[in-house]
Structures are given as C-alpha cells and as structure tokens.
Symmetry: C2
C-alpha cells in the first residue's frame, strides 16, 4: 500500500479543481492506495511539509461537485521552479525524503509550463538516481491554452466561454445609443492570443461584437488600427474591439511600452496601464469619438458560475488519466488531449513526454488570423467551438454560488 | 381602440427588457389596445418618428423569454432631457402631434432619473393643456438603485447578484498564493454606493472577500485606507477591497481628482484612471506589496446570464403595473416597489407622484455604513439579500447565451 500526493501550481482557472477532483476520485477508488494527500501551495507546500489528508474531506459526491464549481486552486498554488540538480540537489533530496516519510508512491502535479518543468526535473532526477518506486505525472492546466503537445488546456474552455458570453453581452450594452462609440476590451495573454481569439464566439449567435480582433501573434500597427476603427465607424455606430494584453509592434516591443511617447499629452510618465487603456487614449486623441476601455481581468479566469461543461468534464478526465497512468507505474509524462475530429468533436487522452512541454509556448497559428491582422478565420472558430459547449448546474445559496474550501 | 407606446431610456441594465416585456404583454392582452409600438432610442426616437410595431415581433412566449434574458435596451436608449415648456413648447407639441398621428393613448417610459423628468414634464404639459386622453406613466430602471420613493430599482438586483458572485469568485482567485497581496475592485456608482455595498454579499456563503468596503457616501481618507489595509495584511495574506468609483475626500472632491498630486511619481498628468487604479498606485508606493486593481465596468450592468430571478420577476411586474395603471386612465406617476417586510420578503406595487422622483438621488443611509467607513452593517445585508435571490434558466446556443434583437 502506498499513498498518492497531488498538488496544484500556477495561475488560477475555473477548471483546475476539476482535475484535482479526478485525481482524488481515482486515488480514493484504488484498493492499492491508502491515503490521498494534497500539498498546500504546490511544491512549496511539499518542501514545507504542509500536507492535507483528503480522504475524509472529499469522500462524498456533494463535496466533489462543489469542488468542481469552485474556481482557483483549492489546495493553493505557487510560482516556484526547482533549480537544476546539477546546480543543487538540496531541493530534490528534501522532496524525496518527504515522499519517503509520507510513503508517497505517486505524485500528480497539476499546472502549466513551470509546473511541467518541475515534473520534468523531478522525474528525471528519480530516473537518474534509479528511484523507481515513485511515479511522477503532470496534468495540464492553463487558461492561456499555450501548452505544447495537447490540443487544448483545461481551464481554457471555461475562460473562452466567459469571454464569448461577455462579448455577446457587451455587444447588447454598446448598441443602445445612436452615437458613434468605440469600446476596447483587453483580454489576457501576453505571448499567446488564444483567449483573445475566443472573443470571436461572441458573434456566434448573431450578436455584433467583437468587430475587430487583434492577437499578440501578429505585429500591431497603431496606424492600421486607427484605419480599421475609422472604417468600422463608417459602417456602424458602436464598434467593439478585442485586444490581447500582449500586442506588440513590428519591432516586438509591447504596445504599452512603445506607445508611451505617442500618449505623452495624456500620460506624462510610464504608468501601469494596459494595452486597451493606451488604445483608448489614442482613439480619443486621433478620432475623438466616445471611447472606453474594459479589462476582463481576473473574472476571465475565475468565473466558474459560467464554466464550460466540456472543459470541466475533460479536466476531470485528465486528472483521472494522470492518476491511473502513475498508479500503473508510468512516470515523467503529461496527460494530454488529442483531437480525433472536430465535426463531430471527438478526442482521446494520450500521454506525452514531459520534456516536449516544459518551458515552451504554443501560439496561435498565423494562418488562423486574417491577413489584415484584425480578425480570425473560420478554422479558428471550428477549433474553439467544441471547447465552450455545455452549461453546468451551479449550486447557489443565498443567491450566490457556493464554493468548497479544503481548509 | 387606442395604441400603446413604450420606450426605454438611460443606461443599460440586465432587467430593463423584462420591464419592456411586462408592458408589451399587458398591451397585447388588453382588448382595448390595437397596436403596441416601441420607439427606438427613447424620446429621440419619438421625435424622429422611429416607431416599431411590436405586436407580431413579441406575440410568442419564446420571444418574450429571450427578451427577458437580453441585457441592455432592446429598443435602444438615449440620454436626452426635454426643455421646460415655459422655455420652448416645440418638443412637446411635436411629441403630442406624433402621438396623435399614431393614435397613442398610453405612453410608458422606462428609465432612471432623467427619464422620470421626461415623464414629469410630458404629463404636466398634458395636464396644463387639458390633454386628458393621453396617459403617461414611468417605470423605474437603474442599476444604481438611486431612485426615490421605491424600495429598490429594477436592474439593481441583477447587478448586485453579479457583483456578489464575482467577489466570491475573486476571493477564491486571490487566496491561492501564500504571499501578501492587495486587490482593489472598483464598482460603479458616483453618487450612490448601493452597488459597492452589494459586494458584501460575496461573503454570504463564507468566501473571504471583500475585506474592506468603501462607499462614496462617507468621506474617504487615504491615510485611514492605508491604515485599514495594513491592519488587514496583519491578519491575512490576500486582502480584497471594494470601492465606489465615486469615493470623495472630506472636501467632497473625487479621489481621482485630489490624488493627482500624491501619485505624481507614477502619473505625471491628469489621466482618465479610476479610483481603484489610483489606490493601487498608492498601495504600491506606500505599502509595497503585490497589488492590482480590477474594474467591474460594463459587465456589472449587462451580465444577464447571471441575472437575479427576483429582479427579473419584479421588473416585469412593474412594467405590467405601469401599463395597467395607464390603461385605467392614470397618468404622471411611476410604478414603485414598497417593501412590506424583509423576513419573509414581501412587497407590493404602488404608484408614486413623479415629481417626487425626477432629478433626485437616493443614497445609502449613513447608519448602514460602519462608523470607520470600511464596511456595511447587518441592516444593509438584510435589505440587499432578497434582491439577488433565484437563478433563471438561460437559453444557450453554441455555448453562448442567445439574445433577442428587435431590429
């Protein structure tokens, strides 16, 4: 009999607890597993021996359901990368000794790029040291959808559904007055534009926003942007625009850095304003119509009340698959989604070498962005659509969603 | 046989179409009404004769249901006030002539303070000119909840439910890291703090946010704020704060104006940043921990996918009541909600003189704000709670809510 350990890492999402749920369910159901532990705050919690026994806390279906509708990491998270063992073996030795102390045979780490780096280093360390009785697996998570070797990432579908829903509602909001107005909505993503691209689904049922979409993969030209906005204002009075927070100019500099000069009249010094705020100022100065900016901010990653059923389902399955694979003796891989077909949507779960994933970023293919750089293609829509399907019943009390707290 | 006219005015909300729905349902059901017209963009659309016949468009239950889950004003809106008739009777004469042309016997105007000013002037003009065959009624709407003579305003409950839900989710999001961090969330409301106060309901099921609440009714002291934040950071690592966009200092100046000097290091010139952004910069400079700001922005008034069932129900009833009252010969009043009891929640609809409402603002009673000005009382919670109760089924297609378009 061995014990299973699970931990969460990286930025919050609406689905990371569904993956935790899948891992725990498998651990509880397996007769060869004694205890299921969760480490608080990821790898930091392992090093600090902050372990929580989850068996009793998560043994009833209602707790598991509430866990799945709770955004963010119920175990807490961290942003810590292990040093390389050639530089220092201290952290590795400490982790292994704690694993021994708690009789951990299986460790599942749920997270994004940095977390997969941890899985990679830890499993490599075990392999080199011939520690064969500890299996270490990764389960993906990131709203940014930028992990390699998986069709998409748990958490992305729910964020995309929130973004699409919000654009469809903002379309209604912005259309009410018969006056020219520009609304610039900033979506998360510094290096990958997947989330911004998902704004296109706001139009799927005939709502009018977004009118223009700018991803960080394609160089952003302020003059081209102003031309696009003027053209749209010639066609309709309310123009709604989606921009990635990470849009960059031809030289690869963030717009928020290189626009400092152009907006000197409005902003004297470098301030911590986002891309949309800068573009708002540019439109105000150069076009002069009513203009405002909106940041979807934290809401896009934690709005679990409008989570995608497809996303929560797949996230749970990936947690289960990672646990199963580890309990069968597998190590050093990440459970991933392979898309078999788009229409109808079909996928299977596969297990990919962790070194193909750690520290890399999957960006939006340029062929899925319009040549003019101000919209996305039908292929992008076809890719995105299955990921936001389905609504889940959400348990409310007192008119507010109920969340699950492990501690 | 006469015709009924309805129009919408002022800022969007998630419930103003439910009131439209109630008016139209009553108009369609009354055997003395021939046609139900909607004017596009409020009083402007009446003056421009942009009338839409609604009978066929809204005669089936599915359209009415979709209309109720569509945020913003389906008929479009405007921000126009009529001149006083002692200055110019032109607009009044024009409106009455158009009413005659379309055989309008009943006009229901749905909106906030400015719209009730229009109802007041138009009904007074008719009374003075002895035009007795045109009945003019107001139906309230404003997410700000600042209309006099009604316990609360349609649209407020849905905005409050969105705000409470979002704070409960942001609480989960902010608690993940074991590091000190401050999150400042700005809520709409320049003169009345009702929306900001509703953030308190984010705590109703045990979630931890907001930790501090600052309404615009009480003078805001930056030093007191910093003291509060430091004290909270002594108790817990993640501090979440709700602030009204309209917080003012002791002299009654907006914080966004008077903080310009204090933040000169960060902001050189006057910029169009909100209160939360300024406070973010203050916390960064004076406390130095991780800090970010979030604006709930348009989402708080258009997130109809998470509308309050109580709000949508009451909004529809108020539309029905205003139409009924007009069709029975009443004029110059607004349908309003009178709370009979809070536990259990009971209300009735009454009709109040429009001059008691037009151009006035109902602010949060100071006795419902903690003495220190950084939280609200149990009385406030008791007042708010009934208004956010119940969730409505929302029709989705392709994973995104469906909205109704009249044109």
């Amino acid at each position: 009999m061995k014990n299973l350990l699970v931990a969460q890492s990286g930025g919050p999402s609406a689905a990371i607890n569904a993956t935790l749920c899948g891992v725990v369910e498998k651990g509880l159901a397996d007769k060869n597993i004694d205890k299921v532990y969760g480490a608080q705050n990821g790898i930091i919690g392992i090093l600090a021996e902050r372990m929580v026994e989850l068996n009793a806390l998560l043994s009833n279906p209602q707790s598991l359901q509430l866990l799945c509708q709770t955004p963010s990491s119920a175990l807490g998270s961290c942003r810590m990368k292990l040093s390389h063992w050639e530089e220092s073996t201290f952290e590795f030795e400490k982790i292994i000794s704690i694993f021994r102390k708690y009789n951990i045979g299986y460790f599942i780490y749920i997270g994004g790029n940095d977390s997969m780096d941890t899985v990679h280093k830890l499993s490599e360390y075990c392999r080199l040291r011939k520690i064969n009785d500890i299996c270490i697996m990764g389960a993906p998570k990131t709203i940014d959808n930028d992990l390699m070797e998986t069709d998409h990432c748990p958490g992305f579908g729910s964020a995309a559904k929130y973004i699409a829903t919000t654009f469809s509602e903002i379309a209604c909001d912005c259309n009410v007055y018969a006056l020219p107005a520009v609304t610039i909505v900033e979506v998360m993503g510094r290096d990958a534009g997947w989330l911004t691209a998902s704004s296109v689904l706001g139009r799927i049922n005939g709502d009018s926003a977004p009118d223009l979409i700018y991803l960080c993969e394609k160089p952003f030209s302020v003059d081209g942007f102003l031309r696009d906005v003027r053209e749209k204002l010639g066609e309709k009075h309310a123009v709604v625009i989606a921009v990635s927070e990470g849009i960059k100019n031809e030289a690869g500099e963030y717009i928020t850095d290189c626009l400092q000069d152009r907006t000197t009249d409005a902003f004297g010094h470098k301030i911590l304003a986002g891309a949309a705020k800068y573009l708002e100022e540019i439109v105000r100065q150069e076009i002069g119509c009513k203009v405002r900016s909106v940041e979807l901010n934290l809401m896009q990653r934690c709005a679990s009340h409008v989570a995608s059923a497809a996303d929560i389902y797949e996230s749970r399955l990936l947690g289960m698959a990672a646990a199963d694979y580890a309990m069968a003796g597998g190590s050093g891989k990440m459970a991933a989604i392979k898309r078999i077909s788009t229409k109808p949507y079909q996928f299977e779960i596969e297990f990919v070498e962790i070194e193909k994933i750690a520290n890399q970023v999957k960006t939006v293919p340029l062929k899925w962005i319009h040549e003019q750089g101000n919209d996305v293609t039908q292929e992008m829509i076809d890719y995105l659509l299955p990921l936001i399907q389905g609504e889940l019943p959400c348990t409310y009390e007192n008119g507010v969603p109920v969340h699950f707290r492990l501690f």
